[in-house]
């Protein structure tokens, strides 16, 4: 996939040589190279060892908004990449999926947003734990970078900052739990 932004230790950068092929529909034959597959197809293509959690998968997996992230629990350790789809930027289900994957299921690998991924929502995605953003093809990823920072104040909490502001204020630590 091109038009990609990734967060790394040195900050955000554009990626022009991403090897992953996003397989939106179960095509025959499947393209070459590393594949990013929908849940059903991913499952079909895995060996018993992968499905039993004894081996790593070569295939990345993308979830549609109505897929349940909890289903991935047995395979998380062997997955190279998870992507969450925004069929429209107005569909916010992937924010909750991202929260669950990062906070509850402990996914540490790359979490990529795909689909209707636009500049003005990137900061929310980042707060919810996405660290890669496949910006919509017709939009400039370089421009979208400007949307990554967003507003510096977070009253509540997020994946990046699990403590609400009231626990981060100076002098608010006497009651930490």
């Amino acid at each position: 996939m091109n038009n990609l932004i990734k967060l790394g230790t040195g900050g955000a950068h554009l990626v022009a040589d991403d090897p992953w092929n996003w397989v939106r529909e179960p095509l025959e034959p499947l393209p070459d190279g590393p594949l990013l597959l929908p849940l059903a197809l991913w499952r079909q293509r895995q060996s018993e060892d992968v499905l039993a959690g004894r081996a790593d998968s070569r295939d990345g997996l993308w979830l549609a908004p109505d897929d349940e992230p909890e289903e991935l629990a047995p395979w998380l350790a062997g997955l190279p990449l998870i992507a969450l789809e925004f069929p429209s930027f107005r569909d916010g289900r992937a924010y909750s999926q991202a929260y669950l994957l990062r906070t509850r299921l402990g996914w540490q690998g790359e979490l990529r947003s795909v689909g209707d991924v636009l500049r003005d929502q990137l900061s929310h995605m980042r707060q919810c734990g996405f660290d890669a953003f496949a910006v919509r093809e017709d939009k400039s990823a370089a421009d979208a970078l400007k949307g990554l920072q967003g507003i510096s104040v977070l009253y509540g909490r997020s994946v990046l900052e699990p403590r609400p502001l009231f626990r981060r204020r100076i002098g608010a630590d006497e009651e930490e739990c």
Binding site: R104, H124, Y155, P164, F166
Partner: protein, 556 residues
């Protein structure tokens, strides 16, 4: 009142800059209207029939006199000299140019105001009653928790693209004056026998196309778990609420589809994961926020004031106003004054001019502690007036055109802007309100009718809450012409009820006559002093229908 600290200021200013940039990109074509739409809605900006409308947030309906003066300034310089107070305790400016929005928001930020999340599919302004902090029947000021919720829900990244808008209200008085039962989440705050502060959580209320009253999902939730419990509800809703049909996307449809028990189980399960985490509120945070709402420096007064007493005795008009437009105060010698924005045909309900706003600000400073409240019935409240000052306040309010003695009466009509402004409306609301107000101008008659709420919405979105009006009027479109459906028996508060349709819709010109016949029927069957809604409950719809439609046929 709550005062911004460096975090609040930074957030609001950064938000203004961000939205300025988005407007800029819209104007130069970088953003399509489709991409811009949710961004502008989350900044309170609608595109109406004639111009942009900007809805400014008034958190839980509390406003300072300084803020009111700024609203007057905006009305004067950017609008046509007035603003419209809404049923969500906000204010709308109806004639705004897109190019001016950045400047307006910056001006608002100077006085600690914003328009963030006053629209869009996100958590909206947190509401409570207009008498918060002063009502005699209050257990505890609901505003600290409302402010905590405001902060928590503002730009909360996970919940900005929910299936649909999301409204939360909180009530902590004996009487529910905050319409809790018609909110996506309604919170009743109370104390148990041991004095612990608890919440009863209602979910799935809402009006619109499918009016449903909220149902209880949780009893006795310790206040410290407020944020995590609401987070759990929102996560369940965000994941599972319908997104295929706008009219089935509110949480009420999800609650109905699952059943309230199953829904409550889902929430409970989600909540178990997060309840003891960092979202748990601390005493320190509650105290920090509550300190902003500490009672002002009230004087120690006797509850009876001689001058007030003799003014009541000597001035019948004043006495009539005092009987209807005051609310009991928890501090002896004080009262809360309701300023009516419903003078009759002269001014649409909820509309207030710049000069009136300045007059109200002055009253609040002179005869109060500089504080003003917005009631969801679209009236304004001076929360802390000494009884000794009531006569002076009344005189000044009368000069300002804000002393119509009709609070809670039939002409205290709640109406949305309707077809005159709103592009969603099927029919006009304002002329209907004005025609009814003209028909019931006789104050003696009006007062004899007693408590009677009348709500007019110009479309199914029900911004004027017509379902919970004792009389509700809904604008409908029939083959391109405007018709009005009438319901009776609706009620708000703890005895909330949805009104029932009396029969086929009417033309605009018939409405005043229909209302008169409903009222005549009520008077014919009324027992003692019972209010309209009790009579409807007792005798049912039939006598009303019969009178309205039989004569309808006879006159046709």
């Amino acid at each position: 009142m709550y005062q911004y600290d460096e975090y609040d200021h930074a957030l609001v200013l950064e938000r203004v800059a961000q939205f300025r940039d988005q407007i800029e990109r819209r104007l130069n074509g970088e953003l399509s209207e489709e991409e811009f739409l949710p961004l502008r809605l989350q900044n309170g900006l609608y595109l109406q029939k004639h111009a942009y409308m900007l809805r400014v947030a008034i958190p839980y309906g509390t406003l300072s006199s300084v803020q009111m003066r700024t609203l007057a300034h905006i009305a004067r310089h950017y609008d046509r000299d007035y603003g419209h107070f809404t049923t969500r305790q906000n204010i709308q400016f109806n004639w705004i140019e897109l190019e001016q929005v950045g400047d307006i928001l910056e001006r608002l930020a100077e006085v600690e105001m914003h328009a963030i999340q006053t629209s869009g599919n996100c958590v909206r302004n947190i509401t409570t009653e207009a008498f918060a902090g002063v009502a005699a029947d209050e257990l505890l000021d609901p505003r600290p928790l409302a402010e905590i919720l405001r902060q928590w829900s503002t730009v909360n990244p996970e919940f900005l693209y929910l299936p649909r808008k999301f409204k939360i209200a909180i009530c902590s008085a004996e009487q529910d004056r905050a319409a809790i039962m018609m909110h996506d989440i309604g919170l009743y705050l109370y104390r148990d026998a041991a004095g612990e502060l608890l919440l009863r959580v209602m979910v799935g209320g809402g009006l619109g196309r499918t009016p449903i009253l909220g149902q209880q999902v949780r009893e006795a939730l310790p206040w410290r778990h407020l944020l995590s419990y609401i987070e759990a509800i929102l996560r369940v809703f965000n994941r599972h609420g319908r997104r295929d049909n706008k009219y089935k996307a509110r949480i009420k449809i999800l609650v109905k589809a699952l059943g309230v028990e199953a829904f409550a189980r889902e929430v409970e399960e989600e909540w178990q994961h997060i309840k003891d985490g960092p979202a748990e509120l601390t005493e320190a945070e509650y105290r920090r926020v509550a300190a902003f709402f500490a009672p002002p420096a009230y004087e120690a007064l006797s509850d009876t004031d001689l001058d007030y007493g003799s003014a009541l005795a000597g001035d019948a008009e004043f006495a009539r106003w005092a009987a209807h437009n005051l609310q009991a105060h928890k501090v002896p010698g004080y009262a809360a004054v309701v300023l009516s924005t419903k003078p009759g045909p002269a001014m649409p309900p909820g509309d207030v001019t710049a000069a009136q706003m300045e007059g109200i600000a002055e009253l609040a400073e002179r005869y109060g502690f500089g504080e003003i409240r917005i009631a969801h019935e679209q009236n304004l409240v001076l929360p802390d007036v000494r009884k000794a000052d009531l006569h002076a306040v009344w005189q000044r309010a009368r000069e300002l055109g804000l002393a119509t003695p009709n609070i809670g009466l039939l002409t205290d009509i709640i109406a949305c802007p309707g077809g005159d402004y709103c592009s969603l409306a099927n029919a006009k609301s304002i002329p209907i309100a004005q025609a009814i107000q003209a028909r019931f101008e006789d104050l003696d008659h009006l007062h004899d009718l007693g408590e009677l709420s009348l709500n007019i919405s110009g479309c199914m979105n029900a911004c004027a809450h017509h379902h919970i009006g004792n009389i509700g009027i809904l604008g409908v479109d029939k083959n391109g012409s405007e018709w009005y459906q009438v319901t009776i028996g609706g009620a708000q508060g703890k005895a909330s009820a949805l009104g029932k349709v009396i029969g086929p819709a009417f033309g605009a010109e018939q409405i005043p006559e229909v209302i008169e016949r409903l009222v005549d029927t009520f008077l014919a069957y009324r027992e003692g002093d019972e209010p309209f809604v009790d009579t409807v409950q007792r005798i049912g719809l039939e006598p009303f229908k019969e009178r309205v439609y039989r004569q309808q046929e006879a006159s046709a």
